[in-house]
Amino acid sequence: MENFLHHWGLSLAVFLPLVGAAVMMVIPRAQEELHKWIALLTTLVVFGVTILVACYFDYDNSGSLQFVVNHNWIDVINSRYIVGIDGISLPLLLLTALIVPTVVIYSWNHWPDPKNPKAFLILTLVLETGMIGTFVAQDLILFFVFFEIVLLPMYFMIGVWGGEQRLYAAIKFFLFTLFGSALMIVSFLALFFLAKDPAGNPLHTFSMIDLANAQGIAHSTQLIVFGGMFIGFGIKVPIFPFHTWLPDAHTQAPTQGSVILAAVLLKLGTYGFIRVAIPILPDAAHTWAPWIALLAVIGIIYGALCCLAQTDMKRLIAFSSVAHMGFVMLGIATLTSFGLNAAVMGMVAHGLITGMLFYLAGSVKERFHTLEIKRLGGLLLQAPRMGWILGFCAMASLGLPGLAGFWGEFPALLASYSPAVGLSQPVFRVYMVVGALGTVFAAGYLLWLLQRTAFGVPQDEWEGEHFHDVEWPEWLAWTPLLALIVVIGFYPNFIFHVTDSAVQSALHGVQTLAIAK
């Protein structure tokens, strides 16, 4: 069993959803119940597999890759099918495997128009393959492929099941990401050709493990190569000023799409920084870091201010993602293990919390058929449980200690007080203060949202209408997320314990650099 798991566990997690999707493809569209069950079963099995993987994960060696499978793939370009996980991947893997079943459960009775559960669920499963694949891939080309696989299903989710402006939003999402990844692949290729082993022979490899020990790329070249990755990953994150696709995509996407987008897709970018950009190009990362951090804090403030200007609940939540991912990027830009830990924590926390917020927005929309904040109000009277959950999530999102969100923000700020050796302390301390100011705005927009939606009395237009409170699929889908927000909030060690030594290895290059200097 254990042996099997070590060889097949990750591949199973990656490809089982595709098997499910293939099965569903041959089943006629009319059999909706069957489709739902197959999708649920598949995602649950995948979740089970990842849980097993997590159980057999060697936590004492979370800094090194485990469950590694290394198999021929494209010999011609020396790209291999290498999958494996370490402490950075594991939390994100579990997050993904958890979110997708909740999406399926939530979908049980929430079908965005034009319905068609078959297509919708197949896309969800394909999406899962892409997301899980990205988190386990240890070869740049494999990583790239999975990174891109995610695009198509999401494009269709937004484009087919989205709101009024769905065409615009879908294509914008697609174009932005593709633009970034096109530059990213050029950077990967540059690495392939430029990286040399310590003896000075060209490596000609795409293996992240080998590349992390590579050298021989001139600093100026590194900067450009890193720049390509920066745009590629930065768009996905999204870092200001590449963020404009996000509000549109989120606003227009169906609830499930928004949830997946917020909970997992945005993490692909930040994960890329931690997994690819920093270990392989520590030197360039070091030079870039102050600028990344600058954009990150701009994002924090800018995202928060844009939130304040929103009249649409979902759009507001979308902009809050920009701000939150700013904290994650700030953590990453410090290039310290503190910061990276905070970043991974921030990714997980943001995934859970913002995912929940989008679920709530979806359920509000489903009941009220609008997300316009000024038409809402008094949710606590109309659907008190939902109102409470909204309040809870708002608190979690604004970084209340004791809930998951805090452990992404506070350590990130903590880390930016004392960034990696060689980075300007005064600059980062200014960033820290500005970032801390961002928490005020976060409180501002989230409570303001809460006040205008949950508090007060309902608008007259809802007079006499009855709204059902949280229903069983919603409970089923939300409970794990809510529980995790609390559990991680109280015991962040669940994440930090896993990530700590992994980020140390990720920062190996940066540390060597510091010693050299």
């Binding site: 011609v76 891109e148 198509l152 087919v160 879908a170 050029v186």
Partner: protein, 496 residues
């Protein structure tokens, strides 16, 4: 060995020539059957298809054999090497798919069927010959053999003024380009005194003189027309739009590939020493072609016309690696990149045209609107078309990504600034391209059917076959690119 009156008949390697012979036999058979049998029209396409597949057999045996051969003993003007075999196989299979695409189209329209297949096979013959040609005259003849039937096929819908116009434009532009090319060839011949590419290479050495430069540019322009590189692309949209759709598919895939084969033979065998000339030329052509193709495609409303511009842009990508293919190492990378791209491109584009044909059978239109709401009533076709579209856009895990990747790799492998800039151009262009590909996807998935007509589309078996070949190739290669990567790596010229 036959010797009459001091003439010694050359020794012919019939095994090496077998594909050409089989095609010739088939095309004559088609013509004869057409004469004999008035009723059994369906037989014609079948014969043509079988002939093309039969011709693949010797290609395979030759590949298994693996030795590079001269078809005429001691004459390096007609060579069967790995490159030639790869391209022949591609031409034959692509030709077979075009036959599948044509079956219902030709049978249901008002066409001369026998002659249609006859001309199609002749054109394929020209391509197959082109793959082996390492001699200016043979290249010229091969080019004409693949072109002249194509001119006529383009205008095959005789009573349709659009088809006439398509054929006329294609013909005139083709002849103009041929004329330029011939002038260039005459200059090269004048400088070197030989038409054999190996001799030309030896004679030219390295470096260049104005006359050589002029000759090379004019030679390449003739084929740049064929691959519809900007600014020699102008015929393509009009011709594609007006020609019968299977022929459009044929032009956009086979004919274009033929042009590339010629360019590759010329620059890698004949003008290998003159990369100072063709590298910048290819660079400029590549950038112009992909950019103009993509930008103009943005504004198209006719799907076929859109695909015309798309295929122009695709040609730009294929040209890109040639811009840095100067030295031996990068030349190999570039060559395999181009070969891989051509193979994958063939599958993607033929597949897309198969869908266009299938949809147009019902909607009688190739306007973008006619694809609206396709997902509602033809989900299968929609999904498959989506596969092709995003493969063309280069989204993993559909084959197109690997094709683009190979282009990136080849352009980056030179390690020069020009190469990286070109790679970035390709990157940006592939984003622009996504915009119009996704417009089709949008129409299919996200728009309601224009006329509210939701009767399902019946897809004839031949089209299903064509689609199956293409979609399997696209997905399989996308997931396991080693399949074509290996082929691309092997497909090198014997003579250099």
């Amino acid at each position: 060995m036959l010797t009459v009156l001091g003439f010694t008949a050359p020794h012919v390697d019939y095994h090496a020539l077998a594909p050409e012979i089989i095609i010739t036999v088939t095309l004559i058979a088609v013509l004869l059957v057409d004469l004999v049998s008035e009723r059994n029209r369906a037989l014609l396409g079948t014969i043509a298809g079988i002939g093309l597949l039969a011709a693949v057999v010797p290609v395979l045996t030759l590949a298994v054999d693996g030795t590079d051969r001269f078809v005429l003993a001691g004459n390096p003007g007609y060579v069967v090497d790995n490159f030639a075999l790869t391209m022949k196989a591609l031409f034959l299979v692509a030709g077979y798919v075009v036959v599948l695409l044509s079956t219902n189209y030709v049978a249901e329209g008002d066409y001369y069927e026998g002659e249609y297949y006859f001309l199609l096979l002749t054109s394929v013959l020209g391509m197959v010959v082109m793959a082996s040609s390492r001699d200016l005259i043979t290249i010229f003849i091969a080019l004409e053999t693949l072109s002249i039937p194509a001119y006529m096929l383009a205008t095959w819908r005789k009573r349709d003024p659009k088809s006439n116009e398509a054929g006329l434009k294609y013909y005139l532009m083709g002849v103009f380009a041929t004329a330029i090319m011939l002038y260039g060839m005459s200059l090269i011949f004048g400088v070197t005194g030989s038409t054999l590419l190996t001799d030309i290479h030896a004679s030219l050495g390295s470096g260049t003189t104005p006359i050589v430069t002029l000759g090379i540019v004019f030679c390449v322009v003739g084929f740049a027309f064929k691959v519809s590189a900007v600014p020699f692309h102008t015929w393509a949209p009009d011709t594609y739009e007006g020609a019968p759709t299977p022929i459009t598919a044929f032009l956009s895939v086979s004919s274009k590939t033929g042009g590339f084969v010629a360019i590759l033979s010329l620059i890698f065998v004949g003008f290998a020493g003159q990369h100072d000339v063709w590298e910048p030329m290819m660079w400029a052509l590549a950038v112009l072609t992909m950019t103009v193709g993509n930008l103009v495609a943005l504004r198209q409303t006719n799907v076929v016309r859109l695909f015309a511009y798309s295929s122009i842009a695709q040609a730009g990508y294929i040209l890109a690696p040639l811009a840095v293919a100067g030295d031996l190492k990068t030349a190999q990378d570039a060559l395999s990149a181009v070969v891989v791209y051509l193979i994958i491109y063939a599958a993607m584009n033929l597949g897309a045209f198969a869908i266009i044909i299938a949809v147009a059978r019902k909607t009688r239109s190739a306007e973008l609107d006619s694809f609206n709401g396709l997902f509602e009533y033809a989900p299968g076709l929609t999904v498959v078309m989506t596969v092709f579209l995003f493969a063309l856009a280069g989204i993993p895990p559909l084959a197109g990504w690997f094709a683009k990747f190979e282009i990136f790799r080849a352009t980056a492998s030179a390690g020069t600034g020009a190469g990286y800039v070109l790679a970035v151009f390709v990157a940006i262009n592939s984003v622009i391209a996504l915009f119009y590909y996704s417009r089709i996807a949008q129409a299919m998935w996200m728009q309601p059917a224009s006329d509210g007509d939701h009767t399902p589309i019946r897809v004839p078996p031949a089209l299903v076959g064509a689609l199956a070949i293409c979609v399997i190739a696209v997905v399989a290669v996308g997931v396991y690119p080693q399949l074509v990567a290996r082929v691309g790596e092997m497909a090198q010229f014997a003579l250099r």
